[in-house]
């Protein structure tokens, strides 16, 4: 097996036993990046010198037996998380030359654990998008088929983990931006409960929806990363002060005693037959593993989540992006006077999707429209949350597809915003409710990955991990790798599992 194909836990064993050094592992990953980047473009910045230096430091720690499971393991950080001294661009012209003077809390935690950071990941600009096509710099390609999107907005991180350009990555999720690309790239992606992981240093998109989470090769790795990044942070006033369990204790390979529900509203009209079929097979496997499954659950308010999200998120975004005015940092257009300078700074600095959402949000919050749009959406949000609460009184978890379709072609939806928004119809309600959601590989349709989404009540990541782990151990979907040399088409089918 290539070193860059290892999981965190596999790499940790080898590092602990001194069978490989952090430097060797890091060099293998960096060489692989050099090979593969020209096909997929997952990185905005490759931090080669940094990585080699950190790897050497990790090797020192390993020599004195002072290592954690993440020590010496190469990681990619999505480019909307501040990294001191290293450009943090949010894949936007607005922040192309922005170098933060501080590290995000999650970055500090990973550094303390001995992370080797190999670079910053390409994304949809300011995390607004579902395909990585809205990066102001370049499009990231799906390694399973280079003519298709990897999903977004954490497309770069998803691709890097899928190809071996990083052993794991951190993404962020506001409406599905970890889970959907994870599903599109055949990896595991977790959006933690809102408030579980600190947002300090995450460039804010929608403050009541954003969460940072791990993107990994398997569920055990996700648990290892969560053990480090989860927890209360006094610098984030929306971070919740609950103790962090050892998530690796939840990796139990059977589902005996668990009651699962399948909400039928997530099997939308317009869902691909192959995805529907893969989901049926996957859920049948969960029954085989010992769970009781109710296939007839109904969450009638699901259909309102898209509208609620596309009012709430842009409204919060317009407030969060008001700071980009060319005064203290970022792109700054000279202009004729103060207002002209600000308007042109924002007009040139932001891409079209960002501008669309700022206008949408401003409209929804403006006098005369606030009650009908923003306030109404917030009330519908309460109903969506309550519906999940009630469901979780009867079920330990809910199972849905991560996306109604397999990865679509580059260019197919980028000119039709509404079509693009529909890609997230299965993931948005989860952010609205603030509950956790885990996407795991669940098979293939026409050679393209299908993801299964596991939902639980707030702070039930352990249940999600158990279900994801049991399923993954029984099926092995996540062990398949894209064949980039052949142009990236995986010719797998549903025969396994």
């Amino acid at each position: 097996m290539n070193r860059y194909d290892l999981t965190i836990h596999q790499a940790h064993q080898l590092l602990k036993k001194r069978e490989v050094s952090a430097l060797e592992l890091t060099k293998a990953v960096l060489e692989h990046i050099a090979q593969v980047e020209k096909k997929v473009h997952a990185f905005v910045t490759v931090t080669q010198d940094e990585a080699l230096r950190q790897a050497a430091q990790a090797d020192e720690r390993i020599k004195s037996d002072d290592l954690t499971p993440l020590t010496g393991v190469p990681a990619l950080i999505k480019d909307n998380m501040c990294t001191r001294g290293i450009a943090t661009t949010c894949s936007s012209r607005m922040l192309k030359n922005f170098v933060p003077p501080y590290d995000a809390t999650v970055v500090v935690k990973l550094r303390d654990a001995g992370m080797v950071m190999v670079g910053k990941g390409n994304m949809d600009e300011f995390a607004m998008g579902s395909s990585n096509e809205h990066s102001a710099f370049f499009i990231t390609a799906n390694p399973w088929d280079l003519a298709r999107v990897p999903g977004g907005s954490s497309g770069g991180p998803a691709v890097a983990v899928a190809t071996g350009e990083a052993i794991y990555a951190l993404g962020s999720d506001t409406g599905g931006s970890i889970r959907q690309p994870a599903g599109f790239c055949n990896i595991a992606g977790l959006k933690p409960t809102y408030g579980r992981v600190s947002r300090f240093g995450l460039v804010a998109f929608a403050s009541s929806l954003d969460q940072i989470g791990p993107m990994t090769r398997d569920v055990a790795d996700s648990a290892l990363v969560m053990n480090v990044i989860a927890g209360y942070d006094p610098k984030d006033s929306t971070s919740v002060n609950y103790p962090v369990p050892d998530y690796t204790k939840s990796l139990i390979p059977d589902l005996k005693g668990l009651k699962l529900g399948v909400p039928k509203e997530y099997f939308v009209e317009g869902m691909q037959d192959g995805v529907r079929q893969a989901m049926r097979t996957a859920i049948a496997k969960l029954e085989e593993l010992g769970a009781t499954v109710d296939w007839e659950v109904s969450l009638p308010h699901t259909k309102y989540a898209l509208a609620a999200y596309y009012i709430i998120a842009p409204s919060e975004a317009m407030a969060n992006l008001a700071r980009y005015d060319g005064v203290k940092y970022g792109f700054s257009y000279e202009g004729k006077n103060m207002w002209d300078a600000m308007e042109k700074t924002r007009g040139y600095g932001f891409g079209p999707e960002v501008k669309r959402r700022i206008i949408l949000g401003t409209y929804a919050l403006s006098a005369g429209y606030y009650d009908a749009y923003y306030l109404k959406a917030q009330k519908v949000r309460t109903l969506i949350r309550r519906e999940f609460e009630e469901a979780f009184e009867r079920y330990d978890a809910l199972i849905t597809p991560t996306s109604p379709t397999v990865p679509f072609k580059i260019g197919e939806r980028v000119d039709d915003p509404l079509q693009m928004y529909l890609s997230d119809v299965c993931t948005l309600p989860i952010n609205i409710a603030g509950i956790p959601g885990l996407s795991v590989p669940a098979g293939f349709c026409d050679g393209l990955p299908v993801g299964m989404q596991i939902l639980g009540k707030p702070f039930s990541e352990e249940v999600l991990f158990r279900i994801g782990y049991a399923y993954e151990q029984a099926t092995g979907w996540g062990e398949r790798r894209p064949q980039l040399e052949k142009g990236g088409k995986e010719t797998g089918d549903l025969e396994r599992g």
Binding site: T238, A307, Y310, Y329, I358, T382
Partner: protein
């Protein structure tokens, strides 16, 4: 519900976004289309339903008013487009 061009111009001014003619026209159409899809929320009965701002049981999170180290001025000015004598150089606010 369709957005008029004047409305788009007005909103763009509110959020200080400079838009080209082409953008004004394109956004007017795309956003009208998107807004049409929000009408579905009017179907929902939300009388007596409180709004949710944040999905966590936290309110008024405060800390003790204690002085702690802050960032050095050099860090803060490092990304400044224009600076002078330790200040951000800005455009005249009043003509």
């Amino acid at each position: 519900m369709k957005l008029s061009r004047e409305e788009v111009v007005h909103i763009a001014a509110l959020c200080r976004l400079g838009l080209s003619e082409e953008e004004l026209e394109r956004f007017q159409e795309q956003l009208s289309n998107i807004l049409d899809n929000f009408d579905i929320l009017q179907q929902v009965d939300t009388s007596d339903v409180p709004p949710t701002a944040y999905p966590i049981p936290l309110e008024n999170v405060v800390r003790e008013d204690e002085v702690a180290p802050s960032s050095p001025q050099s860090d803060i000015l490092a990304n400044a487009p224009r600076q002078e004598e330790g200040y951000f150089r800005v455009r005249a606010v009043l003509e």
